[in-house]
Amino acid sequence: MIDKTCVIEDIRPHFTHGQTVMVGGFGVPGTPFTLIDALLASGASNLTLIKNEANEDHMGLSKLIEARRVQKIITSHLGLNATVIGMMNRGEVEVEFYPQGILAEKIRAGGAGLFGFLTDIGIDTILRENKAVVTIAGREVIVEPALRADVALIHAAAGDRCGNLIYERSARNFNPVMATAAGRVIAEVERVVEVGSLEPDQIHTPGAFVDHVVEIRQLTAEYGILAHHVL
């Protein structure tokens, strides 16, 4: 067995200027904060980032954007991040929006080695502008190209040494699809477990998709409960 576990310092050389980086997570759950910090520390800039949202102000993905390392964000919604919306409105970062499930589907198509898919989502809206439209089964549909990245940053609850991953609760979200859709897939895990200890029927991401597994040394405050979302 080739052990895919490594320490965070081993990851940094994989980050380079101008890369496209997919980042898992939907809000706090599933966001790989440790890997994002490593990407920030690497100094890589002119990045294109793909993530459901940009986290909230001063957290996670937002740190990279606020540090002006990001040329473009491909995302679904920035509603909880006034800082990034401000930067977008001032033209300081380019933003490309997709309907949330279409974004997930574009990534999945990239991971599945498809070139794109056909959808009627948005066909009667301004979303159809500047998109290729074809007719199938008598219906006009948008041609959505597949999306892949140079690197995917994944957060999982547990990973074994050969890269098998399991996710917990709503922290699954975009992580499994992104784990299929990048040239290099790096997973941070809350605990590394020995090979054979994950039940084969319960593995969410098979190890073949994962290149590196990094154990998180400490779940920092960013991973915790956000006070302003508490009842």
């Binding site: 679904s76 917990e168 709503s170």
Partner: protein, 216 residues
Amino acid sequence: MSYKTKIAARAAREVRPGQVINLGIGIPTRIPEYLAADMPVWVHSENGILGMGLRCRRGAEDRNLIDAGGSYVTLVPGASFFDSALSFALVRGGRLDVAFLGALEISCTGDLANWIIPGKYAPGIGGGMELAQKARRVIVTTTHTTREGAPKILPQCTLPLTAKSCVDTIITEMAVIDVTPDGLRLREIAAETDVTQVQARTGAPLIVPEGELPVF
């Protein structure tokens, strides 16, 4: 009772046993509070949950269990988790019975605009467009007019559409209105108002059925 409470409580009465429903941000998230405790219903959340319960009481939060709006939530027995691709497969594939959504504008043919105010508000698309376009039934829960008192229900939308001809029912603090092939049909009216007032604050003609209107 606040407008929002009244709307959420009335909207809860549209839910049928066994339905799979999705609750948009804002008023819809309050609907579960007004469902009968024994009402069997499956609440879907875009971030990959089926079977959400009420919002989580303070102190019992699970850092890995939030809804699509970021609130900490609970689960009901039989709940399941899945990835974002399957979450929207459920929506687009026809397994979502009802989506409750907010609105900026609704047209008399059921067009919905709720995601952009050009030059003012454009935070992105999120899951709303797929919910609006693909839920088997779309119920808009909204105040009847804007803060400035302008009608939100219009002959046609002026803002960019979320989806065309998607709205089935509009529930406001004043009325329950169905979008029908013949136009907007008043189904129920709030106790605090009357048909003249509802029509006055609605920017498109209402079909008022004969006989007494049910009151809520």
